[in-house]
Symmetry: C2
């Protein structure tokens, strides 16, 4: 009962948050998010009463896509898939869940974020956490030693959602990977070229791509005196440099992870370095770093990579950045991450969200990384019974953040997003012509024309025209007694209101001609 | 230990099944299925030993799609989506899981097949079982009263898989639904037109579409003396008529469900009736059936429906069939199901599968229904807090069975399925031209040409040409010292082996011209 009183308090407080947001005319997304929290709290109360309070919502951290969002999503996917196909990629698909053991031991500290299925008898299953581990499982299971494939599908993480910033528990990944034993850095360079092409074509504003190499990081840790067993955990801490100040990162290294202050300071010097091929060259002669064979191998490859990037003419956006670490355990070589320079023009964040908000360099809310990836030469071998390795390099496009930006752009733009592709509405100004409308509509469908009619026996002409204006249908084919007698159809241009009689036999061609530009 | 011995026996027996299939050169699919069972058994043994036997497989009843299967899938989806768009549909998407309570009470006896997620704290979630219930939840949640939408996504059922017949635990549904208060039978007729168009365009051979109405069934049950509370369960039994003989169906009604023999026999007479508008007309004057107001309403609408189908010129494939019942609880009016007449040319079924196999009329293995749907006017109201109804009618295309057929067709066909769209391979016959190849490839990518190169410093020309033949790339752009000096590229047609020098400036246009047909 004490619990119940506590929840009732929380309901009240959360109700206040929602009311305030509404009064402030906050964005629909933000309000929806807070309303969802309110409903969850209310549901807890309902449960206590033993009364079934039915909650009409999607699961926490997930969302529906409405038709407008789908239209934007389709456009973004088309751009990305076209790029993948331009680079000769095939595509595969894998199930949404894997055997639990397939995912075990692949994600380090993040494993706690994996969704498990209930044990209903049979196998223990988990929802996929990314597309890379299923890809490696697929390669090992089918003994495939080389393939260039893309895979676009949803993945699942029980993370703390921040939906106004495009962070969900169910979200899309768009992955492109090249598996196979090839000459160094050629596929790696192509992955960077792909990121460059996609971000340019999506027209998201300026961006840059940070590049580093796990071998350089490991070499750096070694020469700075980090004990071997702490490489991965120190790497995770370095990975936070894009979200935390160096002071805080250093604190975590020294106080939480037990590194000496001296080692931390040495790391601090290296991770502040940024450059291009010149930096790689310089570090190859760095008295300390050049002691590490690993670092030298990484730096030599980095030089090679930059020479290919020069051929591709994309070095203007690529920066060799020693602070880039990436969280996942499985990377073994080159790693990269693309970041938009623009900051999201988000509305004032809801009070509940402010804690988690990341301040970008320009003071707004940073959208953070929109693509990332790297080389993982050991992952497939973890699945192969004989440990046979298949070298892989790949990139994952962080599509949800891109959707958020595209949606905002669409909202700011004057142009209306169409959610259907209908070319013509078959209409009538007179009564009792339903059957004629049905007949003509079927004729148009059979000729491949995208056509609609209103599902009413006798709709008003005005209603029919309004439907066109609302949904962006450019043409109306109007039938009347006279038109039927004359064997014609009145074709009306919705925008200009011009009308012209077209003979029934020429109607299909006329519609095609008039809508061929769109 | 006794258990362990039993499993060891089972492993041995299953190993024998696999060996026999391999000896008989059974299809890869069949062998894979039996191997999966073998691996599962072995895994059980491993668990008993306390030894981790890592099983490299996908979850039971699921599969990966390889690039060839994906190419076929893309083609099928394109056909279906084009049809949906031709009919003016928008699209939406919903999360793969819903709150468990959203799915509760919607599927009758089939609810036991729902996948639940493990309770990891927070909400109780289940994987979606179909796309219809999430659609209804979406409408109620967003207070949408009319929409025409399609949704293509995977759904999940813990059913007994029969993968050689296209029955999986994870499978695609392609749904098209029309929600809104409209004049009777107009949207219903459009749904049937859509099924007709899609099955015709996919070129799957002859088919027919059975139509019935839940109100006619209920009226029939009433006049045959079925007690009200047994309507749904008797309906489920009638639904088995496509898989069971009448004798067995009758037996289930009488012995299992306690119907009188007389009532069952009367039902038996009705459910043997098939026809068109004439049958609806005749039954409207049937002395017994016309006693039921419900049945009369259904029969009147059936006549109306057939009049629209005549306008659409699709009555040749549509049959009013009183034995059609459909399993799901939520239908309230017209129901339909499309069945292919052709039988799948399946290889001899594996011994373990024979029990479940359904004999088609022509003695082969029937692929069964490939599309189905109907009217459900009450479902959205179940989600609305005030019970407001939104009438809906829709159709779901059973895409997995269609994939199976298309895959078989592709295997029998001489034409090779391409898995990439690459137009040209940038190649070289001489050494040390990697950089020139990279430069030219990037030029082509930037001009929108789909181009590849081999990721080797000095690949042999033969290897490069073989790659084209294997993957169906039609053109090769060959660079050599001489070509570089002359500012040209040698363009080779892979099929005819013709070669011609093209100036670098004209290369893009030349490739576009030569590949514009494909």
């Amino acid at each position: 009962m004490a619990d119940k009183a506590r929840i009732q308090e929380a309901v009240k407080a959360q109700g206040e948050v929602v009311r305030r947001l509404k009064a402030d005319k906050a964005s629909k997304e933000q309000i929806d998010e807070e309303v969802a929290k309110l409903l969850e709290l209310k549901a807890q109360l309902g449960g206590d009463d033993g009364k079934q309070t039915f909650v009409l919502k999607t699961a926490k951290g997930t969302r529906d896509y409405n038709p407008k969002q789908m239209a934007i999503r389709e456009k973004v996917f088309n751009t990305i898939v076209s790029c993948f196909k331009r680079h000769g990629a095939e595509t595969i698909d894998t199930p949404v869940f894997e055997l639990k053991e397939t995912l075990t031991g692949k994600y380090g500290e993040d494993s706690k974020l994996i969704y498990d299925l209930k044990d209903q008898g049979g196998e223990l299953l988990s929802l996929r956490y990314d597309l890379t581990v299923p890809f490696a499982r697929y390669l090992a299971m089918n003994k495939i030693t080389n393939i260039k494939r893309y895979h676009i599908a949803k993945v699942y993480r029980r993370d703390n959602p921040a939906m106004t910033r495009g962070r969900y528990r169910e979200f899309y990944q768009c992955d492109f990977d090249i598996a196979g034993q090839y000459d160094p850095m050629i596929p790696d360079a192509e992955c960077l070229k792909i990121v460059y092409e996609i971000l340019s074509e999506l027209d998201l504003g300026d961006f840059h791509i940070k590049v580093n190499d796990r071998r350089i990081l490991d070499g750096m840790f070694a020469v700075c005196g980090v004990p071997d067993e702490k490489f991965r955990t120190i790497c995770s801490t370095v990975d936070k440099l894009d979200k935390m100040l160096w002071e805080d990162v250093k604190n975590e290294m020294v106080k939480e992870k037990g590194l000496t202050e001296e080692a931390a300071d040495q790391i601090g010097e290296y991770v502040s370095m940024q450059g291009g091929m010149d930096l790689a060259e310089r570090l190859l002669h760095d008295p300390k770093l050049s002691q590490s064979k690993q670092a030298c191998a990484g730096l030599t490859d980095m030089k090679q990579l930059f020479s290919y990037l020069q051929l591709f003419q994309i070095t203007d956006k690529v920066v060799f950045d020693l602070s880039l670490a990436r969280g996942l355990d499985y990377y073994t070589g080159v790693i990269y991450e693309a970041v938009l320079c623009q900051t999201l023009q988000a509305p004032t964040p809801a009070p509940a969200e402010q804690n988690g908000a990341v301040s970008g360099e320009e003071g707004g809310v940073s959208v953070g990384s929109v693509a990332g990836g790297g080389r993982y030469d050991g992952l497939v071998g973890m699945f192969d019974p004989k440990g046979r390795k298949v070298p892989c390099v790949g990139v994952s496009i962080g599509i949800e953040r891109i959707f958020s930006i595209m949606e905002q752009k669409a909202e700011l733009s004057a142009e209306k997003v169409r959610t259907t592709e209908t070319q013509v509405l078959v209409a009538s100004a007179q009564k009792n012509l339903l059957e004629e409308r049905l007949r003509l509509t079927a004729e148009l469908w059979n000729a491949g024309i995208k056509a609609e009619l209103l599902y009413k026996k006798n709709p008003k002409l005005l209603t029919q025209l309004q439907h066109c204006e609302e949904t962006g249908i450019p043409l109306v084919a109007i039938l009347g007694e006279q038109e039927l007698k004359d064997g014609v159809v009145k074709v009306r241009n919705v925008a200009t209101r011009e009308e012209v009689d077209v003979s029934r036999a020429e109607l299909v061609e006329e519609i095609k001609k008039r809508t061929s530009e769109s």
